[in-house]
């Protein structure tokens, strides 16, 4: 089956992309940046953070660019007052949801949430912030899960399931109480399925999963494949 080409307009720029491409990919490949937190190339679409919402000419609804496929003749608007307002709102809600304090976060200056807040000009949070303390799991040899910094984007869940193929991470509870868990809510040290591949730490956009005592730049370093292989082969 041949894949056709779809022509559409993004912010008044005519682009042509292969059929089945998402609006986000189409925009990115043509140098148009749409903000997102939950989306990551190579993982399945999630559509949870709602930052990549765009307008499509002729529809009163908003669409999440990361999961909406392009259509022939579509006219996509990625920047408008309303969209900017809504993106700021999303950042405000995320910031108000858990204890996000940049100064004491490992991800400071390397955090996608922090960067987006800066880019979008979020200078204050309209709503009261939540200060409830959630459990931190530091039982693993070197991986740490700090639920207080988690934005529930589920990148870690998806990379663990779809790329590493072990599905160690999952969610428990629902709504505001949703939390990332290891296996069936075990301590990480007792996990029988975790291969310690660090992929979760690598893809975490904030400082919720990180490698203890290692600079974040190093965590994101690609040269850990050998280590992963050795962990996988352990009996």
């Amino acid at each position: 089956m041949t894949v056709g080409t779809v022509k559409l307009k993004i912010d008044n720029v005519e682009v042509a992309v292969p059929e089945g491409t998402t609006i986000l990919e189409a925009a990115k490949s043509n140098g148009i940046d749409i903000p997102t937190l939950c989306n990551l190339e190579g993982l399945s679409g999630y559509g949870g953070c709602r930052l990549c919402m765009v307008e499509i000419h002729g529809s009163p609804k908003l669409f999440a660019a990361c999961v909406t496929p392009v259509g022939m003749g579509m006219e996509v608007i990625t920047q408008s007052d309303k969209l900017r307002e809504y993106r700021k709102m999303a950042i405000q809600f995320i910031l108000s949801e858990r204890t996000h304090i940049c100064a004491v976060c490992v991800a400071n200056n390397a955090c996608e949430l922090q960067k987006l807040a800066n880019d979008l000009g979020v200078d204050h949070v309209m709503f009261e912030r939540e200060w409830t303390r959630l459990p931190v799991d530091s039982t693993h040899d070197f991986l740490v899960l700090d639920r207080n910094r988690c934005i529930l984007c589920t990148r870690c869940l998806r990379v663990c399931d779809e790329i590493e193929g072990v599905h160690t991470l999952d969610l428990k509870m629902r709504g505001k109480d949703a939390q990332v868990i290891i296996d069936l809510d075990e301590d990480w040290a007792n996990s029988s399925s975790c291969t310690s591949c660090r992929k979760c730490a690598k893809v975490c956009p904030v400082g919720a999963i990180y490698v203890e005592s290692v600079a974040l730049e190093e965590t994101k370093d690609k040269g850990i494949a050998e280590f992963v292989l050795s962990r996988r082969n352990r009996k």
């Binding site: 679409g45 999630y46 559509g47 949870g48 953070c49 709602r50 930052l51 919402m53 609804k61 908003l62 999440a64 999961v67 909406t68 496929p69 307002e85 809504y86 709102m89 999303a90 809600f93 995320i94 108000s96 949801e97 309209m126 709503f127 009261e128 939540e130 529930l152 969610l171 509870m173 629902r174 709504g175 505001k176 109480d177 949703a178």
Partner: protein, 552 residues
């Protein structure tokens, strides 16, 4: 069993029922059982024996009559005499006077005739009239003749044409044209195809689907059979709340009976048509009413919605084409096939045909389960069917569409009920909950209550619904505890609009409705709360008052 045999069973059953002079229908639905309906049933069985009339008097256990406020309800035919609040002690008197002497006991009869007058029963056609545990009762009412008609004389395209012509729209709340949905699934070439019937009601005060399943399970099964024939599906699932034990039991029995009569299985009515049916139990989450969340749950995963497209019609259960319909929609199907799409399209309004079941609750005289033609006004529902306000208190608002519906003021009481006019005023058809609110309720407190519900039920996937609703809830707490600011009104408006537009699924998209409609129609109450620290209904500032009292 062949189609002819079905006819024979129906005739035989009708003869069998005619042999009885009287039929005593005791409502044994989830609404009446807690009030002792099963004891009443037993008392009737004993009483007819005692008076020696068991040969001329059939005592039947049936589903809901609709008048839930006066249960246990008993209907004695012929004559449609409805007895209210029957207790085992009263049974002897009823049997003696009504059956033996032929004198209905007037002071025990239900006198809310208005309750039924403006109703039109298509979906609930058999509710309260047949014994849901006997398939023969359903067949005697013409049951399974519609699927018989389809298999014998109609092509799948013909069935879809008839359904399209009826103008039926999905009763799950969104109102998508049913015929269109069917043809989308029928057109896909991938097999196998599936059908999922949604029987997951999570809203407080909503019980129409449960009642339907308890009263007439075969109507749902027959609707699914016809849908399966039309779209080419061989397997179906009824997704039902695990906390509906009676409905589950009734459906399980009905499915077993239908299988036993080859109405389900490999060779339906010996025509070679194949359709099998299974129940799937939901653990109880409001979000599981969302079609993509149901799919996840039926597959055995966490009930979380996913973005559409792909739509279930193309990629549903296990990636296969799937038709998802509410059970109320499905129960309409046999009626449409029997009477024709055109006949059905004349019920209700031009754009919105048919009827809708509502769970009518709140501060009115006749709460219960009602089925009304589309286009009936809210005033007729509240005053004519509902019998007006309890204790003659002033009407304040009516919440249409369950916890994510809209609170409408008195000025909108003449609004006709249909999908489009409700959406225009900020309410939704939803799962069919109507809550009538009198002046003893505070609208700010009411909006807070429903927001709390949606906060609890949010699945946690998307930011607006998960985090946004929590912030709305907190703002409400401030306002109702005396620490609200005038800016809060604008903030609520803004956040509500954002959650409505940006949320991933229907839960989030409708959750701010009570907030937005109360802001729209009852804004002065918000201002009063914030500026004057005054609550007209006396519901709010309880802590504040307590502190003052303690201080004195």
């Amino acid at each position: 069993m062949k189609l002819d045999d079905l006819q024979k069973i129906a005739e035989h059953e009708v003869d069998f029922q005619r042999a009885y002079k009287h039929r005593i229908n005791v409502c044994c639905s989830s609404g009446c059982v807690p009030f002792g309906a099963l004891k009443v049933l037993k008392a009737f069985q004993e009483a007819v024996r005692e008076f020696g009339v068991e040969k001329e008097c059939k005592v039947a256990r049936t589903g809901c009559v609709g008048t839930c406020s006066v249960g246990p309800a008993v209907i004695i035919d012929p004559g449609d005499y409805l007895y209210q609040s029957v207790t085992p002690e009263k049974v002897r008197e009823i049997v003696r006077d009504h059956i033996v002497l032929g004198l209905p006991v007037k002071d025990m009869l239900y006198h809310g005739e208005a309750f039924f007058k403006k109703q039109r029963r298509l979906v609930l056609r058999n509710a309260g009239k047949i014994d849901p545990s006997r398939i023969e009762d359903y067949i005697a009412m013409g049951g399974y003749s519609a699927i018989g008609k389809c298999l014998a004389t109609m092509t799948p395209q013909g069935v879809i044409y008839e359904v399209s012509r009826s103008g039926l729209r999905g009763r799950g709340g969104a109102g998508f044209p049913t015929g269109q949905k069917w043809s989308l699934v029928a057109r896909t070439h991938t097999t196998p195809k599936y059908i999922v019937a949604n029987l997951d009601e999570g809203d407080p005060g909503v019980f129409a689907n449960r009642t339907l399943a308890e009263a007439d399970p075969h109507a749902i099964i027959e609707g699914m059979l016809i849908a399966a024939y039309a779209v080419g599906a061989e397997k179906g699932y009824i997704y039902i709340r695990a906390e509906y034990p009676l409905a589950i039991q009734t459906l399980q029995k009905a499915i077993a009976q239908a299988k036993g009569m080859s109405l389900l299985g490999d060779n339906v009515l010996e025509t070679g048509f194949k359709f099998d049916l299974e129940l799937r139990f939901g653990a109880g989450a409001f979000v599981a009413g969302e079609e993509t969340a149901i799919l996840a749950s039926v597959e055995g995963r966490r009930a979380m919605p996913r973005p559409r497209p792909p739509y279930p019609a193309n990629s549903g259960l296990w990636g296969k084409p799937t038709l998802i319909q509410n059970v109320e929609t499905l129960a309409n199907i046999p009626v449409i096939i029997q009477n024709g799409g055109e006949w059905f399209s004349k019920v209700g309004t031009a754009k919105c045909s048919g009827t809708k079941c509502f769970s009518l609750t709140g501060q009115i005289n006749n709460p219960g389960l009602i089925e009304v033609p589309m286009g009936i006004t809210l005033r007729e529902v509240v005053y004519d069917i509902g019998g007006g306000m309890q204790d003659n208190r002033p009407f304040k608002a009516v919440l249409v569409g369950g916890p994510s519906g809209g609170c409408l003021p008195e000025a909108l009481l003449d609004l006709p009920i249909d999908y489009d006019s409700l959406t225009k005023v900020g309410a939704i058809m939803g799962s069919g909950g109507i809550v009538v609110i009198d002046d003893q309720s505070c609208m700010v407190d009411t909006a807070k209550f429903f927001t709390d519900f949606c906060v609890e039920e949010s699945c946690g996937k998307c930011v607006p619904c998960r985090a946004g609703l929590v912030k709305i809830k907190e703002t409400f707490e401030n306002i109702t505890q005396g620490t609200g600011k005038l800016d809060d009104i604008a903030a609520l408006d803004k956040a509500g609009q954002y959650i409505k537009e940006a949320s991933l699924c229907g839960l989030g998209q409708t959750a701010p409705n009570p907030v937005l409609t109360t802001l729209r129609y009852f804004r002065d109450e918000y201002v009063e709360h914030i500026v004057e620290k005054k609550c007209r209904a006396g519901k709010c500032f309880r802590n504040l008052k307590k502190e003052e009292d303690d201080a004195q």
